[in-house]
Amino acid sequence: MPEILVQYQAEIWQSIGETFIMVGVSILFAIGLGLPLGTLLFLTRKGQLLENRYVFSLLNLFVNIVRSFPFLLFVIFLIPFTRWIIGTAIGTAAATVPLSIIAIAYYSRLVEQSLIDVPKGVIEAAISMGASTREIIFKFLFVEARSGLVLGLTTSTISFISYSTIVGVVGGGGIGDFAIRYGYQRFETELMTYMIIIMIILVQLIQFLGTTISKTIDKR
């Protein structure tokens, strides 16, 4: 192992851990709130089961606003809110707040897009069988759109890793921040290169995993 990696071993492991925490929490929020939000976005669209112009416009506006912020600005803009929620605006825990919000907005849009791809006839068949909205969602929509939902989560996760490099400005830590601090600010180019390689491997693994799962569960 290159000497420089051995030298910074402790910091590297810690920053990898921080990245996992930040990205992990983001994924949890994406699934826990982004999935329902995206489903509601889909259902309230024109011509869909719960068509509602007002609810749709409101949700749509929220998602668009969050996603139109340059992420760096969003992190800073959210500092008062973060302080209110977490008690501090600095550190890994604080950094998860803007990351989770962007995760919800980002994934919900991808969820909406995947659900649009479900053939209308399938929903119609579900209604004709007397399914409730809840049953239509869980027994038809999510089943039929599952490979798209997994691919969307894969894409989202990779974006979260990228976003997580920015939260260094609020001391969020993580591998990207580590690479910037040591590589750029301390001129340890070699170290930075290794960090980039680690991130590339990480992203490759996630993409491979996502694609494989998505293919396996796609029987269409």
Partner: protein, 254 residues
Amino acid sequence: MISLIDVSKVYNQKDNSTFHAIDSVSLSINRGDIYGIIGRSGAGKSTLLRLINLLEIPSSGTVIVDGEDLTNLSKQKLRHARQSIGMIFQHFNLVSNKTVLENVLVPLELARYPKKERLDRVREVLRFVGLEDLMSKYPSQLSGGQKQRVAIARALANKPKILLCDEPTSALDPNTTKEILEVLQSIHKELDVTIVIVSHEMDLIKSICNRVTIIDNGQVYETVDIKPKGIVNSDHTPDWFLTQLTEERESDNA
């Protein structure tokens, strides 16, 4: 069994005008009928069929199915009523990420059919449509005719009294059409199910329907009682295609 009383379906169009897809239609379908609805494209026949299980909500009028006024039911009761009205579609509308078995299981789950008896019931209906061996296949592994038979099994699973068929064979070739018609006929005979078929295919309507309504411009043009001719054997072998093609050429030459 089914009565539509003065039913209309009106759509508001973008330019604030209205379009009467169905215009004051009244008709009654008796228990045991194989009832045909025929008409040219855009006449409103599919809309009419979808009004029977309120897949389209009527703008006015009353829909009575099996003694129950569907237009007056709460959402929950309407869902319950729909569980005993089976429906099949031109494009089958199966869930492609579910196996044949899982597809047929869904209506039983929705109807809270006794858990222990579900699998037996699935086997029973799949045997009825002749697909018992394909239970673990996914729809993409099946032919069009097989897919429609799965859809029929799904529609029958919950023992409906009525089966609505929306262009059931329009996506199928003549051989497969015959196969599906035979299944429909045996459903009618053996399971005592009232069948309503929408189609633009005259041969189909003539072969199995005993009563037919012609729809035009969203209105009933005429209703007639007919004697079903029986399913015509349309065995399209390569030889049949060849004779068809060459005969035409010969008559052209003559």
